[in-house]
């Protein structure tokens, strides 16, 4: 399965990855090789095999609905690039 440069640019945008235009041909080529590898899996007959959502043969353990205590806002926000009055600050986003 081959992939176009347009597809690569779209995926990069969705993943918020910046790819220099000069790198695009090479990235596209390598991306295509990875997909070829994945594509080999499609040759396996999976008729009647239930999709596996997790490699562990276990079911989810649940936790009781209990509040485990207040969080330390100062510590948690310490690594934020910008904050004010308890809010994280980000570039203006308005719908």
């Amino acid at each position: 399965m081959s992939i176009s440069q347009d597809d690569v640019e779209k995926v990069a945008l969705l993943a918020r990855l910046s790819i220099a235009p000069s790198d695009l041909p090479e990235v596209t080529e390598r991306f295509g090789r990875v997909l070829q590898l994945v594509n080999e899996l499609n040759t396996i007959d999976t008729e009647g095999v239930a999709p596996m959502s997790n490699p562990h043969d276990m079911v989810q353990r649940l936790r009781p609905d209990v509040v485990t205590g207040a969080s330390d806002r100062e510590a948690l926000m310490a690594s934020a690039p910008a904050q004010d009055r308890g809010y994280f600050l980000v570039p203006k986003v308005i719908d």
């Binding site: 997790n54 079911v59 649940l62 485990t68 980000v90 308005i94």
Partner: protein
Amino acid sequence: MTWETIMGLEVHLQLATQSKIFSGSSTQFGAAPNVQADAVDLGMPGMLPVLNEEAVRFAVKFGLGIGARIGQRSIFDRKNYFYPDLPKGYQISQFFSPIVCEGVFEVPMEDGALLPIRITRAHLEEDAGKSVHDIFSQESGIDLNRAGTPLLEIVTEPDFRSAEQAVAYLKALHSLVTYLGISDGNMAEGSMRCDINISLRRAGSDALGTRTEIKNVNSFRFVERAIHSEVERQADILNSGGTITQETRLYDAERDETRSMRSKEVANDYRYFPEPDLLPIEIDEAYIDAVRASLPELPAAKRARFVNEYELSDYDAALLVPDHATAAFFEEVVRLGGAAKPAANWILGDLSGALNRADLTIEASPVSAEALAGLVARIEDGTLSSKLAKQVFDGLWQAEGTTDEIIAQRGLKQVSDAGELEQMVDDVITANPDQVTQYLAADETKRKKLSGFFVGQIMKASQGQANPKLLNELLIKKLNDQS
């Protein structure tokens, strides 16, 4: 051109758990920003989600409440998109195997008919945080207190044809989830938010038109207005030969119009894949049976019981039942001796009117169920006319005492004593000889009208306390005796 409106609804319901769906942070509304967001909610590296058992139980309760099939093995998926109030860059949701599968929800309409709405699915997911745009001039503020609050997203088939049906569904859904105790249903605080998918098609056609989605409408009234305004917009475009663009729109209540959300124009490509940090949830029959056994009486059953047990009309039952507290209040009044039909009338009439004016819920009613039962009893035994009862109700509202105390204090007892009434009638006849002559000269139909004068005089003299039925009988008899 006549257009038929086709709509499907998606409701995001906040579940009333104490802690978040994947972390131990509190879900309480109204805290200072970011004090209820821990390392899991913030998407810190290495943090792992652990599923809240109550969120699972609530979802199953809902499924059983609408008679839906429960997914025996349900799986979480990642929904990937980039937005500042979604710290991980993906929302943990359920795409391929939801916890609640297909069901049918019967919505009571105003005319008493039931409108069956097919539920496609309901799945568990986490809420995002909140972006705040009006505090900072150059930036947006992000508050992640809401991030990770458990949501049940309830999706219908495109079964709605009018705004009225959509609102009726939302009201019935609100009633169901509050009965189940799985959500506080507080729309103003965002506990129930609605996305509306709308398309139009030529009346009589089977093909579906291009749809738009109106996001995040959070009141019944706005749902109705948003639908009207979007239907009108689409009809205008189609009537002038244009085409509808499939897009997400926002309803602007101030301008009463929907507008395009430009930021979401770029690729609605969520790239769902199974969430590797969570294992499948397995729900067995024993668990389902246990949850089923814990279900309370639900609105549909209660409406039927009110009609059978209390001989209420479908209409009264449909008005009493949706709010759990109102239904409970009614049953308490009846249990304390109030007759059912007048009790229902008082609750739906004077009491709910007074509560509305005072902006109080029925739980905070100054008139208790016991007080109302006392009032109803005095109407039933003839002590109070409906007019006097309103005055007593007023006294009850102002905490002047019990019904009997207020009757005594305000001297409101209805006069039903034949001797007393006779005296009143005699007095008015003696005092108004001209009117009596006029009455006697009139024919049958006119007499009826003229007798009103005497009734009015007596009511005035007795300050409204004469028993109107007995008074009328006596008066007519005495007047006719004059000839």
